[in-house]
Structures are given as C-alpha cells and as structure tokens.
C-alpha cells in the first residue's frame, strides 16, 4: 500500500484520475471513479488525508468530497479488515437463507456485522440487494460475488477467486424469443466474434449505410411500442423525441445508460451485460444515432464489477473494430462510450439521481420539471435509458416495428426478462412475452413454488410494486393488467413467498431497504421511510399496537403519490398499502400475539420460509 503525503495522491493514481477526467466536460465528474481507485489502492478505505488529497487534486473542497463519499455505502470512511465480506440481507436473499449466511460469516470471521475481526483479517457488512436474486443467497468478498451459497457449509478461503458469469434460464417454450438467444447458444456470447457470427451489428451497419435518417430510427422505435424496462415503462421512442432539434440547441448532448439495477428482486440487466454486452453496445450506438448524441455514459452500479468489466471489454473490442469513437464505420457519425461506476446507492437508479452522481455529487434526485431532455447532465440535453430497453433496439431496427408489435400485448409490446426468485424451484432470469400470465412463468419457467408448498404472496416487478395475494397469480404480466390488479410491472422481477413466509417480516425487510436508501432531501421520505420501518420492526418483534395498522396507511398516504421530488417515497408507500390491503390479518395477528406467531414456534434465528 502506497503512502499518501498530506497534499497529494501517488503519482500513478493521479495520472489515472487525470485520464478518467478527460471523459467528462467537468473535472468533478471523475470524483466517484477516483474515490473507488483511491479506496482500492490505498488500504481499502478512504482516510481523511486521502479525501483531502483527492479533493485538492480535483479542485474541490475537502468538505464536498467528504459529503459525497459519506453518501455511498461502498465507500469506507473507517479502516477495514484485509478482506471485506458483504452479505445481502434484502428480501430475496432473506427468503433463501441470508440470515444463516450472515451467522456463518460472522462465526467464520469472528467479526460482527458492521465490524472487523479482532485480528484485522475480515470486515463484515450487511448490504442491500446486489442483483444476485436468481442465485440467492450470496455474499461478496473483495468485489467478487459468490452466489447459490449453501448456508450451512461454505468456507471463506475456499471460495473461488473469480466470479461466475450470470446465467440465463431456458425458455419455457411455445413463444418466440430473441433477447436471450445468443446467451443460451454459447458460453462466449460476450465476444465480438460471437456477436457478429449471430448477426450482430447488422442493424447499425444498415442504418449507417442506407443511410436511415436519425429521426426515422426514432420513429421505428416509437412505432414498435417499446416501453422502458427500468421500472417506469415510459414509451422509449417518445422519450427520445423529447431531445431538442440540434439546429435549435447545438449544445453537446448525452445518453446515460442506466445500468444501476438495484430494485430488490431485479437481476436481469446483469445477464445482458455479462453475457451479451455487444447487444447493449449496438443499442447504445443506435440510440445515440437516433438522438444525434455523440457521447454515452454507461453508469454501472458499483457492485457489478464483473458486468462493468464485460461491458468495458466489449466497448474496447467495438472501438478497435471502428464501431465506437470517431466516424463509426466511416459514416461520419461519431459516438464515444465511457464507462462510469456507481458506489452502492439505489437512488442513483433514479434518472436525475443518476445524473447528479455522474457529475460527481451526492445522488440527490432533481425536481422535475425541468426534464433531462431539456436540462440533463451538466445542464445539457440528456436521455437516460435502461440496459434492457436499449438491448431491444437493434432487434427492432433489424426486424421492424411490425415484427415487434406482434410480441407481447397491444400496449405492452415485445418480450421482457423476468427475474424470478424467492420460494421457487428454479430461480432464474427467463425471457417471456409481455402479457404472459404470471402463473405460467412460475410454473413453466421456475418449476412452481418450492418444496411442494402453496403460494401465499408474490411481488410482480420488484419490491416497489408491493405484495399481491396468491389469488392474483393469474394476472398477466403487462403494464395495464398489473395496474388493474393494483400493482405494477416495474422491472418484471417476480418474488414469491410460500405459505410459511411471514409478510410482516417481509415488510420489515422491505421497509428497511427504503429507509436505508432514502437520499434524505424530502421531509416525508426521510422521516417517513424510517418511521414505516420502525413500525414494521415493532410489529414483527412484539411491540406492535392496533393503532399501527391505521398509522401505516396514514403515513403512506402522507408520503405519496406525487408529494416528493422523486418516487422513492411512493416505492415505500405502495408495499405498505399492499400489506394492509391483502394481509391485514397477518398484521393483526402480530399485534394480538405480540410478535410473529411463527417466531414463537421455532428457535432463533428465524428463517423466513426455510
């Protein structure tokens, strides 16, 4: 480990940060990548001296850098052990034994959660959803995921040093697929050679060579009915059309790729990035061409190091092949793609939070209006699109809007990747058409509820969509059907709870997530998410009151809808409403029994559904 003089970083690190800074119009945007590099190179944590040296090097005040570093869970502002073990304790991992994993980790290392072992070897952290839901439970040791853990038998030193690439689930059959075809066909689907062999970059070539006008590309996408796959489902072509006419607004403009995938239960963008990154690259290039954007940033959540590496490698392969950079394929269209790391904050998946973070600041969402197309990165026109959304674009351009509209439903066209997890036989990421009944995914893809148990509850599209009762399992997985059912499609991440699960415990875990992730700007969200969690915690552990049931609803009504800068407050309120609506009897039981009635029947620690 190199030492840091009070006023400067090691020269090699400074050179690296200088190079990174050239990717952005403002030097400050290099801050979060710089903090990652400093933490990695300088002892696994960010000491005050390092924070100050980094600040000076980037032309910032130390207090600003401290404010930024303290916002992101991945940055350690206190010394850590030689190895850092992070255990996800969010809902899906909880359903598959995270409690036991954490216990075992603490026993093996001698460290408490949030602490370091006496010998300084290990630090142990609990973390929120890491995007390993289909392979839960998991732990991360020094940036490498170890998934599908056998909670009672894993050994830390014997864990593999390299991460296993994400896998895709085999389709159920009986419907057309395109998204995961390449991934399922070959292990090396991530390479340029494999991509080209499968017909990759043909769409881009045709657009550039014909040429097809940029606005035409937007029209094709609009016509296809493609809607955003990041959770909000906004029509993609329409979003692209919001970018101003370059003749009227000649300022530089950007595409920000939202690879911050952090919605609990969601692990599907990861599959695309790790196994088919060129599909994303081509989608990015086509989107940039359509919107006349010359620079794209791929904002990858900090924990997805393997995804980052795979996409970065693909970008370099593409660059070497003349597909990325100046004058793509000699067409006159130039498009630079820069990789960017997040640092562990869910709120940076919100498009304006993402932009703030990319600019090197705390990930505080911005009030809208103004919208990103008018005022985005550094105040310039910007579009933010999800990974899976962009991944669809080359297929749409290649095969046409008419083809795309035949898949899915009238208002929710195309296929989507359903990451299904929790109490199922075969958790995984499966390609299915929009509009497929949820039951079909559960039974035909995932093998049904595990251990021959009955279904009690399920979440259709990530924890922000709330709980639905088992009786709703025939609901079709599309935007309108789920809205009618009182929920949302969200990210299409299904989480299933069997009959032994406790919905109150589930809400304790889910509400803890939102309290942990609230950026803290808005009064209702900052205090409300914390308050909701406190109430669920009391209900689960014995100090619940009858008044709490109504209080939950009242607080959730005070937080949402539309009362805050962003929808995180809504994301906390919706599941709260859902447990009151569908599982009030479980809440009342917890009040009557002074805690979880199932907890009394077993010894600690409680394994939800184990």
């Amino acid at each position: 480990m190199e030492t840091v003089r009070p006023s400067s970083l090691p020269a090699a690190l400074e050179r690296e940060i200088d190079e990174i800074a050239t990717h952005y119009p403002e030097r400050r945007a290099a801050l979060i990548p710089a903090l990652h590099r400093c933490q990695e190179e300088l002892g696994g944590w960010l000491s005050p001296e390092v924070l100050e040296a980094c600040a000076r090097f980037l032309g910032l005040e130390p207090v600003e850098v401290f404010g930024v570093a303290s916002f992101y869970p991945m940055f350690h502002l206190r010394p850590v052990g030689k190895r850092v073990v992070s255990v996800c304790h969010n809902i899906t991992c909880e359903l598959r034994g995270a409690g036991s994993v954490l216990e075992r980790v603490c026993a093996l290392t001698g460290a408490e959660p949030g602490g370091t072992s006496a010998d300084g070897e290990y630090s142990v952290k609990t973390v929120e959803c890491q995007g390993a839901c289909a392979n839960a439970p998991m732990l991360d040791i020094d940036g490498v995921f170890h998934e599908n853990l056998r909670a009672d038998s894993f050994e830390l030193p014997r864990l593999a040093r390299a991460q296993t690439p994400a896998r895709a689930g085999a389709p159920a059959g009986g419907y057309e697929t395109y998204l995961l075809e390449r991934v399922l066909a070959r292990e090396d689907s991530h390479t340029l050679a494999a991509y080209r062999a499968a017909g990759g970059y043909r769409a881009l070539e045709r657009v550039l060579e014909t040429p097809i006008a940029p606005v035409e590309v937007t029209n094709i996408v609009m016509d296809s009915g493609l809607r955003g796959r990041g959770g909000a489902g906004f029509p993609t072509g329409l979003k692209w059309s919001f970018m101003p006419d370059p003749a009227r607004d000649p300022r530089p403009r950007y595409l920000a790729v939202n690879a911050d995938e952090s919605e609990p239960g969601t692990c599907k963008d990861r599959v695309l990035m790790e196994r088919d990154p060129h599909g994303l690259v081509e989608g990015i290039l086509l989107a940039c061409y359509a919107m006349r954007v010359g620079v794209a940033y791929v904002y990858v959540r900090g924990e997805y190091r393997f995804s980052y590496a795979r996409v970065a490698a693909a970008v370099e392969e593409a660059r070497a092949a003349g597909l990325v950079g100046a004058n793509v394929l000699g067409s006159g269209f130039s498009c630079e793609i820069w990789m960017h790391q997040g640092a562990g904050a869910y709120i940076c998946g919100e498009e304006t939070g993402l932009m703030e973070s990319l600019e090197g600041k705390r990930g505080h969402p911005r009030p809208k209006p103004p919208f990103p197309a008018g005022f985005g990165l550094w105040g310039r026109p910007t579009t933010v699109n999800n990974v899976e959304t962009l991944f669809n674009v080359p297929f749409i351009v290649e095969r046409g809007a008419a083809w795309y509209k035949r898949l899915g439903t009238e208002k929710s066209t195309g296929n989507f990747l359903c990451g299904i997890s929790g109490h199922v036989e075969r958790p995984g990421v499966y390609e299915v058409p929009l509009g497929i009944p949820a039951r079909e995914i559960l039974e035909r893809c995932a093998g049904g509820v595990w251990k021959k148990r009955a279904l009690k509850a399920w979440i259709p599209g990530g924890s922000s969509c709330g709980l639905l009762p088992a009786s709703a399992i025939d609901t079709r997985m599309d935007h309108d059907s789920l809205r009618t059912a009182g929920s949302m499609l969200g990210t299409g991440a299904m989480i299933l709870f069997d009959e032994t699960a406790c919905t109150v415990r589930a809400m304790e875990v889910i509400s803890r997530f939102y309290a942990h992730e609230s950026c803290g700007q808005c009064s209702q969200c900052r205090e409300g998410t914390d308050w909701l969690h406190e109430i669920f915690e009391r209900l689960e552990h014995g100090a619940g009151r009858i008044e709490d049931v109504e209080l939950l609803t009242s607080l959730a009504n005070g937080m949402a809808p539309g009362k805050t800068i962003c929808a995180l407050a809504d994301a906390a309120a919706i599941p709260t409403h859902s447990i009151v609506k569908h599982f009030k009897h479980e809440l009342l039981e917890h009040v009557k029994h002074a805690g979880c009635p199932r907890r009394a029947a077993r010894s600690e620690p409680l394994e939800v559904g184990a």
């Binding site: 207090v63 709120i347 705390r362 009030p367 009362k563």
Partner: protein
C-alpha cells in the same frame, strides 16, 4: 411581469422568480424552510405546498418554490389539500425534533414553531424513540450546531456554496441518518459565519455570543445601519429591556447588503454597551476633574475657544452629516479648516460586503469639506496648536490613546466623546451618545444615505451631539445659529 390569480386577487408576479416569491410579496403566508430568496431553490422540505390550476388541467398541489409562474395561473394557498400536505410534512419534521423550545435561543423567531402553530396538527403520533445526535457541536468561535434540531433544509450548506462561494458544510450520510458536518471537525472560517444563525430556520445553528442571552420577545428591535465599514449594511439593533444591545442582525436591503452582514459588524456591538461613559461634562480644575452639567461645559468651552483662537478641529470618522454640518458651521465661525480622522484600510476588505474602509461616512464628511487626516497627521497638527476640538464617538481611539496622552498639557483640548478621555492635554470633556443611541445619517461607499437610529437611551446627562454643537455655535456666533 406575469399576471396570476392569487387567492382570488389578480397580482403581478416576477416571471424570473418562483411562485413562492409572488405569494410572499402579496401577503400570502406560504410556509418555507429550504427556500430562501437569496439561495438556490432546492424544493426539498416540501412545506411550501399550494394548489395551482393551469389551463384545462385539474388543480394540483405543488411546491411553490419550484413552480414557475405562468400567465393566468390560478393559485390557492388556502386550499384544504395544501394545508393537509403541510400538516403532514410538519408531523414528519417534528417526529425526531427534540422538545428544546424552553432552552432554545430560536424560540420566538423559529420557523418550525411558527409554521407548526399555523399549520401543524398539535400532537404527533410517533411512539418511536427520538434520534440522538450531537447537541452542542462547536463549529468554531461563532457558531454552535445542534444536530438534533436540524431539519436538513440545507440552507447552511447552500449559504457557503452560493454566497461566500467556498463550501464549508455538507450533509453527511443519507436518509434519516444525515447530519450537517464540517470536514474533520475543522472550525468554520471567514467573516460571514454569523449569517448561518440567520438562515437556519430552527435553532440548529445558533450564535455562541447570543447563547442564553435573551428571549427574543424581550428584545426591542430598531432598524439602523452598521458603522464598522463604509458599506453601511442595514441592521437591526436589538436591545434587552431597554438595557444593553444583545444582538445585531442584518436587515434585508436589496441594494446594499441583501440579507447578509459580516461578523465584524455583527459582533462589534459590545462597544455600545461599554460602561465607561462620560455623562454631562467634566472640567479640569486644580484639584482634578470636576463634574458639571452639559450646559456649563459648553459655556466653558465657548470661553476657551474665544480666548484661544484658531483651534485645530478634528472629527471622528463616525460623525453623522447632521453633526458634521454643525461642526463645519463652528469651523467657519472659528475661521479654521476642520479635518476628519481617516482610519487606515482594514485587512478585512473582501469582494462580498466589507469595503476595507472602517469609516462609515467618508463620502459624507468629504462632501461637507472635512479634510481626511491620518492619526499621525492629526497628532502633528494637535501638537503644534494652542487649542483643539476633538469631536465625536470614537474620535479618541482613532487618534490613539497613546498619542493623545503624549500631547502637551498646554494644548487646551475640548473633547466631545462617549468616554472620559483623561489625558494631560484635555481641559473640557462633554459626553455624547453612541451610534446605538442617536439619530443621524451617514453616506456609504456608493453614495447611499444610511440612517442610524437610537435603540436605547443614552446615559442620563448625555445630550445629543447635534444639540451640544448647536449650543456651542450659538454661544460663539454673534448672529445666532443657522441650522
């Protein structure tokens, strides 16, 4: 200007400012915490909710600080839904707020108290233990932070970003565990820290100097001007029960100091409370100083000046133009040229408010014909004179006590000052009110008239300097006084 309908009235709204500004300009009392007209709006506290209707869209509840005004917009600040939203925000803000009012300096001028009273629900429903954070965190010499009281409006962070342009505070952490911090417990620096106590809407950031000094409802507040430099910031002089000045705060003046003032000016009020005051007159007799009333002292002064003609006349840089005009009258009567003591440039000069010139009335005095004199020049003139008049609060300190003490006893010095100037050269001393005790006008660096006004009574026996000067002039002039 854009025309909107605000609570049923047609009003003109500045299109460059958010809706909340138009509301406040027109007496619509929309609550606010994170919004401050002098800082970048963030829209985070969510308290300034109002109902707006635009075109054919159904009315919606919005935060007024982030809503642009639009022609024909219909605004209802009294809508039930707006009140509901504010009520709920307050319940969230009060959930962890400590019940410190009985010991909190902000009580009586606290926006949380005021808006909770206006919009709140009276009782919170939380049974959860309150957050425990640092309650007496020193941020240096000026400010103390109580993190528990903080409602994370971020005005303090934005003050340093927007006004002094050097970040010193940050929100650290996130969510409900956010706190306001400096870097590594470093104290705040700079000459503008006191403004934090003004911008903070609650008692989280308070002045050490004001801690537990007074209940604000016992303070009488008088609009006046600061005299510590030639900016002449608009201030409020705040006096406790007619006794001491306990606090000075800036007043909003869009043309001079906006909402701010510097710490140097803010904390200089101790001089106004100095107990060492000259009341009435003091005459040097053979047996030492002999007290007398002001009128008798003026008689003696007039006699002295008739006999020992051509006195050196030197005035304080703090003299008002009203006082200055009378001194010029005296100078003409006495056939001499008067000078004013010109202090050297202050190192506090900055590109914000402090002009670097400690003389609040340089332009006024110059325009009246007073010649600027450094302390050295003044002493030189005084040393060679037969008699001299030294006039005004702070005149003695601007000549310098050491220099004054060294002047020959033969110099028959008549001094009008706030405190006794017991030096061998002094013959007659006459008490004057200080800048917290008198009415007058200064002219600031931009040529603007800055008014000082009395916030407390001068000690008994002290007459207004204008009156004393007029009295002296009357005694000396053969044709009476022209004012």
């Amino acid at each position: 200007m854009t025309c909107i309908l605000l609570d049923g009235r047609e009003v003109e709204a500045d299109p460059k400012k958010p809706l909340i500004h138009a509301c406040h300009q027109n007496d619509a009392n929309v609550p606010m915490y994170c919004y401050h007209p002098g800082l970048t709006p963030v829209g985070s506290c969510r308290i300034c909710q109002v109902e707006v209707k635009q075109g054919e869209m159904p009315p919606r509840v919005v935060v007024a600080c982030r809503t642009p005004v639009a022609e024909g917009m219909i605004v209802n600040t009294d809508a039930h839904r707006a009140h509901e939203a504010r009520r709920q925000c307050l319940e969230f803000l009060l959930k962890n707020h400590p019940l410190d009012c009985p010991i909190c300096d902000k009580a009586g001028e606290c926006d949380l108290q005021d808006f909770a009273f206006q919009e709140g629900q009276g009782e919170g429903r939380s049974v959860e233990p309150r957050r425990k954070l640092e309650k007496r965190k020193s941020l240096g010499d000026v400010i103390v932070l109580d993190q528990e009281r903080c409602i994370l409006c971020s005005r303090c962070v934005r003050f340093f970003e927007d006004v002094t342009r050097k970040p010193q505070l940050t929100v650290a952490g996130l969510g409900a565990h956010s706190t306001i911090e400096t870097f590594q417990e470093r104290p705040l620096e700079g000459n503008y820290q006191g403004n934090l106590a003004d911008v903070c809407p609650v008692g989280a950031l308070t002045l050490k100097k004001f801690r537990f000094q007074a209940r604000v409802w016992n303070l009488t507040k008088t609009p006046s001007s600061c005299g510590e430099c030639s900016r002449g910031c608009a201030i409020s002089l705040e006096v406790l029960r007619g006794g001491e000045v306990k606090r000075v705060r800036p007043r909003y003046d869009p043309e001079v100091n906006q909402w701010w003032m510097c710490d140097h000016g803010r904390f200089a009020f101790g001089a106004f409370n100095a107990p060492d005051r000259l009341q009435g007159g003091l005459l040097r007799g053979s047996a030492g100083w002999e007290a007398c009333d002001g009128e008798r002292a003026l008689d003696e002064a007039a006699d002295l000046l008739r006999v020992h003609a051509a006195p050196v006349v030197m005035v304080s840089p703090w003299l008002t133009i009203e006082e200055g005009a009378l001194v010029q009258g005296l100078a003409r009567e006495l056939g001499v040229r008067a000078g004013f003591l010109s202090p050297p440039e202050s190192p506090l000069k900055d590109d914000l408010l402090h002009t670097g010139d400690p003389c609040p009335n340089r332009r006024g005095l110059s325009e009246l014909g007073f010649e600027a004199q450094s302390a050295e020049q003044a002493l030189e003139r005084l040393a060679g004179a037969e008699s001299a008049l030294l006039v005004g609060e702070r005149a003695a300190e601007h000549v310098g006590d050491a220099g004054l003490a060294a002047l020959p006893a033969g110099l028959r010095l008549v001094v009008f000052e706030t405190r006794p100037v017991d030096v061998p050269a002094a013959r007659i001393l006459i008490g004057v009110p200080n800048a917290a005790e008198r009415l007058g006008t200064w002219i600031n660096v931009d040529g603007r008239r800055r008014r000082i006004a009395p916030s407390k009574a001068a000690p008994s026996g002290v007459t207004a300097l204008t009156r004393s000067l007029a009295g002296l002039l009357e005694r000396l002039s053969s044709v009476g006084v022209e004012r």
